[in-house]
């Protein structure tokens, strides 16, 4: 079975902390994505990557950065966490060049910033 694993299911952090959200996929997928999900707003794309060491901004990249040093791992970094970054974070991956194929999602990380 294909698998996208997010390192934490629940996370509580303090304002100003640097936060790392890790995502690992075991499917040898080229494409990886980070979304955040908020009630009433649906899923919004933060960053994505089509290849190792490559990254592209999504719709809401402010306050975030990413790292993709290895093909299977895509990390989301909150440089200085703020309360408005309290959200559900979802990692996803897909095969092939382009993004037209289906996404495989992790179980999500519910982040609370206090």
């Amino acid at each position: 079975d294909v698998k996208v694993t997010q390192s934490s299911r629940y996370l509580v952090k303090r304002t100003g902390e640097k936060v790392f959200l890790e995502c690992v996929q075991d499917m040898d997928h080229e494409n990886m994505f980070w979304y955040r999900q908020d009630p009433g707003l649906g899923l919004r794309l933060i960053y994505f990557s089509y290849d190792v060491k490559m990254k592209e901004k999504g719709d809401i990249p402010e306050g975030y950065s990413v790292s993709r040093e290895k093909k299977e791992r895509f990390s989301l970094i909150l440089e200085s966490a703020s309360t408005n970054q309290t959200s559900m974070y979802l990692c996803a991956s897909s095969l092939l060049g382009g993004t037209n194929e289906k996404l495989f999602f992790g179980s999500g990380t519910q982040l609370s910033v206090l």
């Binding site: 649906g42 996803a92 179980s107």
Partner: protein, 111 residues
């Protein structure tokens, strides 16, 4: 980017009834996909319909696509309590850009 719009936002039906959810979008697409999300979990891919297809089936799921009206519908037949979840449409814009998700329809199936 503009999100697709699902309609209705919430739907409550009895077990055994059919559930229909609609999705509208504004720009051209390569394909349109439907996903399901159980409460507090990740999304699971259900079905993908390409822009040159009009209808697709998968088990109790039926998806239609009308590119002239820029709309799609997801029909779940003979619903079960286990179908209770949120359902999202996601459009794949033309070109090499990521999926754009709608805000979802929350389906409740009452036993």
């Amino acid at each position: 980017s503009q999100q697709g719009e699902e309609d209705p936002q919430a739907l409550s039906i009895q077990e055994g009834e059919n559930a229909t959810m609609n999705c509208s979008y504004k720009t051209s697409i390569n394909n349109l996909q439907w996903y399901r999300q159980n409460s507090g979990r990740g999304l699971v891919h259900l079905i993908l319909i390409r822009s040159n297809e009009r209808e697709k089936h998968s088990g109790r799921l039926r998806v239609t696509l009308d590119t002239s009206k820029k709309s799609s519908s997801l029909l779940i037949t003979a619903s079960r309590a286990a179908d209770t979840a949120s359902y999202f449409c996601a459009r794949s814009p033309s070109g090499n850009t990521p999926l754009v998700f709608g805000k979802g329809t929350r389906l409740s199936v009452i036993a």
